[in-house]
Every structure is written in C-alpha cells, then in structure tokens.
Symmetry: C2
C-alpha cells in the first residue's frame, strides 16, 4: 500500500500521523497516549507521568526513573486489562532504534535494528553502544541493562504487560517493538503476547520472535 501524495497537515507539515488518525477514526479504535519520557506535552489529552526524557545512556544511567516507569505502566495496564479484548502498544521514540540496538547488544543478541531514515546509521548505533558499555559494563540482569541503556517506552511497555493478564497484548511496530516483545517474554514470562509487524521483520528478526 502506498499513496501517490505525501500526507500533510493543513499547515503543510508532512506526517504519517494523519493516516494513523484517519485509520483510528474510521475504525473506532480507542486510543490513549502515554507519556513515556515526553520532552514536550502534546496539545491533546494524554496520560502524563512526568518521567522526563531519558538520559544519554552512553554518558550516564539512561533511566533514573526505571522503577517508577514500571509502576506507572503496571497501574495503566491494570486499568485496561480485561476491559479491552485486544491491546496494541505502539511507540514513537526519537533514537529508539539505537536504544533498542544497545539493549539487545547488552544481552548478547547481535541484531541490527531498523531506522526511520532511508539508510540506517548502523555505525553510529554501534559506536553509541560501545561507548555505553565502556561507561558501564553489561549485566546479566536484563532489567538493569534496560535501566542503564534503554528508553522509557520499554519500561512502560514492560510495566503494562506485567498487569495485562486477560487481554491479548500486541507489540505493534518494527524492530523496537520486537525487542520489547523479546524482553517481555524473558522478564515477565506472559501469555497472549504477539508482535504485530511486517513480513520483513518476521523473517529478519526471527531470533526475537
């Protein structure tokens, strides 16, 4: 599926969020925006957590509020569990494929992540991860690695998953959400979890599935 025009706002800003919004409105899907480290608040209702942006994991611990993010996610998961049959978690994290790569790498999985850019800056990601591991040695503990090198979307999603016991939870996206799915399967050992993604990712990242 592709369009022969670029989707744009009335002000001329090109963004795929227009397609997402259209799909949500037509389908009647209920959506909830969760602050997993917002730098700036959106101008529509959303769940504010005040976690603040993640830090630069190559220089310092990335998620000082890791435990809070887990607890907030757990609270939110409990609110929606068994209220909706299907729950989909998506993300929009600047630099998120880099943190996903770094966390995967920290737990010994050598899989490059994709990018929103035409050419994935693989070299930059590797350099970032190497710098981070020089700052702080990788741990055997998955949660510790996430709090050192990850992003708050991961922590929030893991917290949500912790409380979702009756609904079916989908990680909807690409290599980042496949990474969270994998972390979740190891940390939370949940049931009814799926990755909602493309055939390309399924083939390319079968280690995570």
């Amino acid at each position: 599926m592709s369009y022969d025009v670029v989707p744009m706002t009335e002000e001329g800003i090109p963004t795929p969020s227009i397609i997402t919004r259209g799909a949500n409105e037509i389908s009647g899907i209920d959506t909830m925006i969760i602050d997993s480290g917002f730098v700036q608040d959106p101008a529509i209702p959303f769940i504010k957590t005040g976690l603040g942006a993640a830090r630069d994991g190559s220089k310092e611990k990335a998620l000082p509020g890791y435990e809070s993010a887990l607890a907030y996610g757990s609270y939110l998961g409990a609110l929606i569990d068994n209220k909706y049959k299907f729950i989909f978690i998506g993300e929009s994290v600047p630099g998120g494929t880099t943190t996903a790569y770094t966390v995967l790498s920290s737990i010994g999985i050598k899989e490059m992540t994709s990018s929103s850019m035409k050419t994935s800056p693989d070299g930059l990601k590797e350099a970032y991860a190497n710098k981070a591991f020089l700052r702080k040695a990788r741990s055997e503990n998955y949660s510790e690695n996430i709090s050192e090198f990850g992003d708050y979307m991961m922590a929030m999603a893991l917290g949500i998953s912790k409380s979702v016991k009756k609904s079916t939870l989908f990680y909807a996206g690409g290599t980042q959400m496949a990474t969270v799915f994998y972390l979740d399967s190891v940390i939370n050992n949940p049931v009814n979890r799926y990755v909602f993604t493309t055939g390309y990712i399924m083939k390319d990242k079968e280690k995570l599935m």
Copy 2:
C-alpha cells in the same frame, strides 16, 4: 463514621486523601485522575488536558476552553463507557462551591451550596455571583452560563456524561456534584445517572435531584 485521630502523611500533612487512598486500595477500585484545570501537575500518572486553571468569572469569561473541556470529557467517557459497569465522578475544585452556587443562581435556582469550611461563606458567594452577573447578564442557555460562571470540572463531567451510554454514572459528592447532576439532566438528558451523596444533601437539595 469518624476517627479519633487526624489522618496525616508521613511528613505530618493532614488530609482525608489518605482515607480515600486506603479505601481505593482495599476495594480494588480503579481510579483515574483527570486534569480539569490543574494549576500544578500531581506527581503521579494522570490525564493531562492542559486546559489551564479557570478564570475568575466575576471579572472575565471563566472557561475560555469550555468546548475543549467538553470534547476531552467526551473522549474520556468513550474510553470507559461499557468497560466499567459503574463510573463515579468526584471532584476537588478550589472555590468549587462558589462556582456551583453561581451557576445554579444563573439558571434561576436559589439554593446555597455547602463548603469545606466550618461556616460556609454564603455572603462571599452571593457577592461573587452578583459581581459576575453585573459583568455578564445571565443567559437562557445553560451551557453559556457554565462557560461564563462555572468551572472546568463541570464541563469535563458533562463531556464524560455525553459519551457514557451503557455504564451507570454516579456523581459522587455534595452540593457541587448534585449541581452537575442537575445540569447534566437538563443538557444531556441521559439515562442511568445518580447522585452518590449523604442523606443531608438528599433532603436539603431535593430541587436538584
């Protein structure tokens, strides 16, 4: 029911919210905090709307974002309708009994509201309402009166009610929530709405029930 000690936080701040929290935790009731004009964000997850505090209705239009508050409430109501059998709306609005009194007065209902203070400052409330009506004449239109003299809690509650069609909605509180119940019954003409309150309010405010 009363305690022989004042409920206090560990830092010594006396607040009935400790009893509320205890009751919520023991009962397992799901709670969601909604920003209906917060001046300051709480340090726990909540629904941020960014409406900003209501203005002083005796000096200017109280709710410049009245329509937004309705729309936000409607969005939130749709999220929870039919997901929970019972929905309770409560409030904590500084000066909220004054805005409730003023709105009631604006629609021709001469009922004094209660107060969190030992002695309700009835004279102050009446003076406030009179000043507001000098600034802006009362309208036949209920919604216009709310936007001129009310508070965002009213608008948010009315928006929620607009979308709640299958769950049963309770206005839980005193004279303020009885006021919203009354406004809702006129504006939205809903079914399955109740006031969850004390026998004192039931007897004293039967005009609103």
